[in-house]
């Protein structure tokens, strides 16, 4: 019986968006249909891969059949399959939102022509990061993501966007080069670059330097506190779908690599974990303060990204160095919750700006337009980001505090509480504007009815809320292939 060539989902998930991008680049007028089609196809393939991981456990494809140290292996275990499913799912809904915001009457032809190839190449890079097990391959994938993300940031062509894009470019390339020097030190010490080689490596000065360089580079790319300067302007000045992709998906790739490094590289020293936690606290405080001072809606949402990333690093450091084997789950859940909710929030912010005409927070309650569906999805997303039950954010924070409690690190619980209070503070600035608690200043016009464009942010927000109920199965799925337990 000829063995039916089983489609290798691992390469399919990376090559499908690549083919979509090539087609979208070749056919500029039909770019949006080709783009949405490719994202739908990738989403289907991702779900097939998730099923395969569910049934068979971790799936490995040795590319070129050369095996790990010489060739490159693609591996999908629970953690990477979950993040890839999140990326394609959120990406699909953001694409639907993009169909509307780049429609003929709203955006120049050029933006529609170039959004889709860049977004699909970004998707291919993201899937490549989640599946790769080779350090240099991660570097090349990070570069694909960086260039595509800078392209998306600059899509609107306004001078603030170009200036923010240039700053983003410098930070992102410098981060990648720090990572590359770390890769050089790993090769100097071990003579191989795959994760399996890192597992058995005894601690040594070169590996210590490599870990420090890589974490520094990745912290720069995820805009962790002292290195966050480039993020707010880049995410606030991009167009709505682009900033949704940047804030929800691009930042997660570097966070994921930090988790992988913590898993594979030598046991982390207590000092390094505490330092990461401290930087997380700094990010929460500074991000929240700036969010409270932000004038424009999208700037507030961008600063809340800085704060939420700080919280992910706190979740990572909640139980000290030996607790990392458990606390990655809290970090992963918070990453998921932040991605879904933040995508919903940015899309909603874009819709609000379209309907009201401006996004200045102070005048949100003066608009003649009646509260719209977009404002509802913004509020629902805010609930998940704040972390109220039953949202996914709540589940993540719960596991964070639970782990901190069991290992006696009470200060992390206090930090989480403060983070929650601060996020309530800066989101309520916006929600009061929506609900017009203060006296109405102008007559309220007729209800404009619902637009198809509101579907994307609403579904995302509802997912962010509803998935909290599925936290246990998600956690069980993430544990397939023992990402952090004893590797088989």
């Amino acid at each position: 019986m000829i063995e039916m060539p089983a489609i290798d989902w691992l390469t399919a998930v990376v090559f499908a968006p690549l083919a979509g991008a090539i087609l979208a680049f070749l056919l500029p007028r039909q770019a949006h249909w080709v783009g949405v089609g490719a994202v739908v196809l990738t989403a289907l393939m991702a779900s097939a891969l998730v099923l395969q991981v569910l049934t068979e456990g971790a799936v490995v494809t040795p590319l070129g059949n050369w095996g790990a140290p010489l060739g490159i292996d693609l591996r999908a275990d629970g953690l990477s399959a979950t993040l890839m499913a999140m990326t394609t799912g959120v990406g699909l809904l953001v694409s639907l939102g993009a169909l509307n915001s780049y429609a003929h009457h709203r955006a120049p032809e050029r933006m529609r022509r170039y959004f889709w190839p860049l977004w699909l190449l970004l998707l291919s890079g993201l899937n490549g990061v989640y599946l790769s097990t080779d350090l240099f391959n991660l570097y090349v994938m990070l570069e694909v993501i960086s260039l595509a993300a800078v392209g998306l940031t600059v899509l609107s062509g306004r001078i603030e966007a170009v200036r923010a894009g240039l700053e983003y470019m410098y930070a992102s390339i410098l981060g990648a080069l720090l990572f590359l020097l770390g890769v050089g030190f790993v090769y100097l010490e071990l003579g191989r670059l795959d994760f399996a080689g890192l597992l058995a490596a005894p601690p040594s000065p070169a590996l210590g330097a490599a870990l420090a360089l890589m974490v520094a580079g990745l912290a720069l790319k995820t805009a962790l506190f002292p290195l966050h300067v480039w993020l707010p302007q880049a995410h606030a000045n991009a167009t709505a779908p682009a900033s949704a992709l940047l804030s929800a998906l691009v930042v997660k790739a570097s966070l994921y690599i930090v988790l992988r490094l913590a898993q594979y590289l030598l046991p982390l020293s207590e000092v390094l974990v505490a330092l990461i936690g401290l930087l997380g606290v700094g990010a929460i405080l500074w991000g929240s303060i700036q969010a409270l001072r932000a004038e424009r809606l999208k700037l507030l949402v961008a600063w809340s990204t800085v704060a939420q990333i700080g919280l992910v690093f706190v979740a990572f450091a909640r139980a000290g160095a030996d607790g990392v084997a458990e606390s990655w789950k809290a970090a992963a859940l918070l990453m998921l919750a932040h991605a879904i909710a933040k995508a919903a929030m940015f899309l909603a912010a874009g819709r609000i700006k379209e309907e009201i005409g401006h996004d200045r927070i102070r005048e949100l309650d003066r608009s003649p337009v009646r509260p719209t569906l977009a404002q509802l999805s913004f509020a629902l997303a805010a609930i998940s980001l704040v972390g109220l039950p039953p949202s996914l954010g709540f589940a993540g924070k719960w596991i964070l505090m639970e782990g901190a409690m069991t290992s006696g690190y009470w200060h992390w619980i206090a930090v989480t509480m403060i983070a929650t209070m601060l996020s309530v503070a800066y989101f309520s600035r916006v929600l009061t504007g929506f609900l017009r608690f203060d006296r109405q200043r102008t007559t309220v016009g007729e209800h404009q009815g619902w637009a198809l464009a509101d579907a994307a942010p609403l579904t995302l927000a509802l997912c962010a809320l509803g998935l909290g109920l599925l936290a246990a199965p998600i956690l069980a799925f993430m544990n397939i292939g023992y990402p952090f337990g004893g590797a088989p």
């Binding site: 390469t11 690549l18 680049f25 070749l26 070129g64 032809e109 860049l118 070169a206 330097a209």
Partner: protein, 317 residues
């Protein structure tokens, strides 16, 4: 008496580091660009001393030649920019310098504590070289053992050209740098003489890649230099009507590479696993496509903008 070549290395090393500092410190911007080109030359010499001829070729052709051309073209347009010499307050500068000194001390400490010459993957490459389809180990690694990396690298080039076409739309038609007639016919004659020579050298580098240092990237870069010369001597002026063809050539390398990688995956084989007997032909096919794609992409990056019809403001298609 110590080996004089070691003395050569020490002087070369010191020259490279001091050049690096001078590049960032020298006031005149044109001197900065010339110094970067000389820095590239020196680092290519260092690659040669480290017995890495492939890297020296790549550094000379891409890192120094094409980067220098890009910098000169950008410098020409940005010449009137006032020199914003370090506006950072002195205190911040000192802190940063101190931080960098600390980082340097840490890295040098870690580097010196590590014995050199760890047995890397050299043995594994040598064992598998026979059925990789090519004789030259670096080309075998690039196009067979780590072909996935190389494919993604060509994707990076594709993303770059898409981003550059999107960023620098032809709306403000700054006068294109060209070798105008006012310079007399000597440079144009020189360009006419050098063009065929460079094309032959580029093709030679591509062909020799399977058995000696060379290959798709170095050959592609040298052929890109041909493209740049055509642009400079105005023998080829990009027209909006050429865009579909240009897009086709840009994606040629990635599409061809990915297609080959997937097509070989049928019948129980894994993607990128070339059948043993066809390996060489497949690799040469991929190299040819990738070289064409790289040459066109790098030349387009030098041209720096999508050739839009100047007449219509918002772009026609």
């Amino acid at each position: 008496m110590i080996d004089p070549l070691l003395l050569f290395d020490v002087i070369l090393g010191l020259a490279i580091v001091s050049l690096a500092v001078t590049v960032l410190v020298v006031r005149d911007r044109f001197a900065m660009i010339v110094l970067v080109i000389v820095f590239g030359l020196m680092s290519a010499l260092a690659w040669v001393r480290l017995a890495a001829p492939d890297v020296a070729l790549a550094e000379a052709a891409i890192g120094t030649g094409l980067t220098g051309a890009l910098l000169l073209a950008t410098w020409r347009q940005v010449r009137t920019e006032p020199e914003r010499w370090p506006a950072l307050p002195r205190g911040v500068m000192v802190i940063n310098m101190g931080l960098c000194a600390l980082v340097l001390a840490g890295l040098v400490g870690a580097f010196l504590a590590t014995p050199l010459g760890t047995p890397g993957l050299g043995v594994a490459v040598a064992d598998n070289l026979a059925d990789s389809g090519v004789e030259h180990p670096v080309t075998a690694v690039l196009l067979n053992f780590r072909a996935y990396d190389t494919l993604m690298e060509v994707v990076v080039l594709l993303v770059a050209v898409i981003a550059v076409w999107m960023i620098d739309r032809g709306v403000s038609q700054a006068p294109q740098p060209t070798l105008g007639p006012e310079l007399g016919d000597l440079p144009r004659g020189f360009a006419r003489l050098v063009l065929p020579a460079i094309t032959v050298i580029g093709a030679y580098l591509l062909w020799v890649g399977t058995s000696a240092p060379g290959g798709a990237f170095q050959g592609g870069a040298v052929l890109a230099a041909v493209g740049i010369l055509l642009l400079l001597t105005q023998r080829y002026q990009p027209q909006p009507s050429h865009r579909p063809l240009a897009r086709g050539v840009f994606v040629l390398g990635v599409a061809g590479f990915a297609a080959v990688a997937l097509l070989v995956a049928g019948g129980g084989r894994v993607p990128f696993e070339y059948p043993a007997d066809h390996a060489k032909t497949l690799i040469l096919l991929i190299e040819g496509l990738v070289t064409l794609s790289i040459a066109a992409t790098l030349a387009a990056l030098f041209h720096g903008r999508e050739p839009e019809a100047i007449s219509t403001q918002g772009g026609r298609s």
